[in-house]
């Protein structure tokens, strides 16, 4: 089969690889009908997250048709079913899964010892996202082995298109969880840093959860135009002061809820000197992540507010103002998305027509164009916001 394979920093290739096989009775094989390039794939593309190996298949946003199942599906999945695959692999049986904390499933990371050493305790296995999280082959491929498939799937009806449901596997529940963990009240101003695909989903989620006003921050005009279409007041940080504008929008009190949909690769610019220092430290390996957004959120957030972090961080950050965070009584909530916790509700909303997540797709291409699209997406060329691949 063909697949997008990581060979090193900025080196993704559309290779021919051997087909996956059933390895365990709870496995299933799907024929991938649609998959996508995620913003967090760019962290791997840039080699900012450790423990990738040449030959790893990329991709954790995918869906398709079940073509083969193991012997222990217990009636949950059969050949011909159409499923979206959550990017977090969950067993459904461990203590964390029973609590709905699917992204920290205790059983699905097959490199548990490595994760225990790096994180203190293991988290769930993820598709196509380093050997720290299991080294499972990803879904930017023609076929995918889904481990723990009896639990790691979302069945979708034929009445909905791939484009409408594909993002149930990652960015839609990620944006939803980011907004939901803010405990939004009708009087709240919710601010979203970053108008990439997760930021766009977060904006819509905050609107659907009843926020008084949603503010979106970015510097890319086409992304801001999409954010505005979704109901956000926009701030282009290259043209105006984020702090001043947010104070203006909140009668000088600051926003109650702040969401970081940027993560470890925040924009570097002369206007934000801390980003230059972060970048220099990153080059000489004194710091792995660039946390400008975290610093800004802590500064602008209203005392007693909530800081929600769906953006991916990989390692160590410097100069986080813990003094202001502690004294302002801020609450931090973060984590990889507990996808299955949210998807029944989100699928219902899609079926009811409340929201159609396909609005975010700007490019649809074949798998063989994947390597080129990584660069287009990275460089934000051709007004690219979200790439869907059709294997």
């Amino acid at each position: 089969m063909r697949a997008l394979v990581w060979h090193g920093k900025e080196d993704i290739r559309c290779d021919t690889v051997t087909d996956p096989e059933i390895e365990h009775p709870r496995d299933a094989i799907i024929k991938v009908t649609s998959c996508a390039i995620c913003g967090s794939d760019l962290h791997l593309f840039h080699n900012f997250i450790p423990a990738m190996k040449p030959g790893d298949i990329m991709g954790h946003e995918m869906m398709g048709e079940v073509v083969e199942t193991g012997s222990e599906m217990n009636g949950s999945l059969k050949k011909g079913d159409r499923i979206v695959v959550p990017f977090t692999i969950n067993c459904g049986d461990c203590d964390q899964c029973k609590r709905g904390n699917f992204s920290v499933c205790e059983r699905t990371n097959r490199n548990k010892e490595m994760a225990d050493k790096a994180f203190g305790h293991t988290t769930a296995g993820l598709f196509g996202y380093t050997h720290l999280t299991g080294g499972y082959p990803g879904g930017q491929a023609e076929y995918l082995r889904v481990p723990f498939a009896d639990k790691t799937h979302i069945k979708v009806p034929d009445s909905l298109t791939d484009e409408q449901v594909l993002f149930l596997g990652d960015i839609f529940p990620t944006g939803w969880q980011a907004a939901a963990q803010c405990d939004i009240e009708p009087t709240d101003t919710v601010v979203v840093w970053g108008c990439g695909p997760v930021g766009q989903m977060t904006i819509r989620s905050a609107v659907l959860l009843g926020a008084k006003q949603v503010v979106a921050i970015d510097c890319i005009p086409e992304r801001l135009s999409m954010a505005e279409a979704g109901g956000a007041i926009t701030i282009n940080f290259e043209h105006e002061s984020v702090v001043e504008r947010l104070n203006e929008l909140t009668d000088g009190k600051g926003p109650e809820k702040c969401i970081d949909a940027v993560g470890l690769e925040s924009h570097v610019s002369m206007g934000q000197p801390d980003t230059l220092l972060d970048r220099a430290k990153q080059v000489v390996m004194l710091e792995s992540d660039r946390p400008h957004v975290l610093r800004e959120m802590i500064y602008v957030c209203r005392p007693g507010g909530i800081i929600s972090i769906p953006g991916v961080y990989g390692g160590l950050v410097d100069k986080i103002p813990m003094g202001p965070a502690m004294n302002k009584s801020l609450t931090f909530r973060m984590g990889q998305t507990h996808v299955r916790r949210w998807t029944d509700d989100l699928l219902r909303r899609i079926e009811e027509g409340q929201i159609d997540p396909s609005f975010v797709i700007t490019h649809t291409v074949g798998l063989e164009e994947g390597p080129e699209m990584y660069k287009v997406f990275r460089d934000k060329k051709d007004s690219c916001i979200k790439v869907v691949l059709k294997p």
């Binding site: 063909r2 080196d11 290739r13 051997t18 840039h46 030959g55 009240e185 009708p186 609107v207 609005f359």
Partner: protein
């Protein structure tokens, strides 16, 4: 063809049989080679400054050559990072310094004048490659305003933004009112409210 990466795969995981087109462009590869060249040259300048100055007839300038070595290593590290353009620009600035310094060695009384001329020609050649790579990466980073699309018609809400917002706020308001009427609020679990 055998791929070394296949040795790291688990027994049944997919293995590479044939490699296809890469995201690495020729300008990326050129930048990468220039980055490693920069680091190599920098190390030589730093640890063998006496030999370099001796070969060029520039005795007494060892510390300057060592400083250039550090500069080369820094430029190389930057050129190998994702900020290639900054690294390549710093390399071009370094090339100008190298040429200016070598020019002082091209004088009739220098017995190693020929070596200095040869070194200068080599620096000029590398400078040309630096310009080619920088040009390619600069073009990549330019986003012309004419290319930009507006996505102002992509709300994602079938009912429109305002109707969706109003419905959600009404439901949230009703939920809050009913919980006030029912008594003191219970401890919230993050995101448990389904509006």
């Amino acid at each position: 063809m055998a791929f070394p990466s296949n040795m790291t795969r688990s027994e049944r995981d997919p293995k590479v049989l044939r490699s296809g087109p890469s995201s690495l462009s020729s300008s990326d590869r050129l930048a990468r080679n220039l980055g490693w060249f920069s680091i190599g040259l920098g190390i030589v300048e730093f640890i063998a400054a006496e030999k370099v100055t001796g070969a060029l007839g520039m005795r007494g300038k060892e510390n300057l050559v060592r400083a250039y070595g550090i500069r080369e290593i820094a430029s190389g590290v930057m050129t190998l990072s994702v900020d290639k353009r900054a690294g390549l620009n710093s390399r071009i600035a370094g090339d100008a310094l190298d040429i200016a310094t070598l020019a002082t060695a091209i004088r009739p009384e220098n017995p190693k004048r020929d070596n200095a001329v040869l070194a200068m020609l080599m620096v000029a050649g590398v400078t040309l490659l630096d310009f080619v790579a920088t040009g390619a990466h600069t073009v990549r980073h330019i986003r012309h305003s004419g290319e930009r699309r507006s996505y102002s018609d992509r709300s994602g809400f079938a009912e429109g933004v305002e109707a969706s917002r109003a419905a959600a706020r009404k439901k949230l308001g009703d939920l809050r009112t009913s919980s006030v009427n029912e008594g003191p609020p219970t401890k919230k679990t993050s995101g448990a409210d389904s509006v």
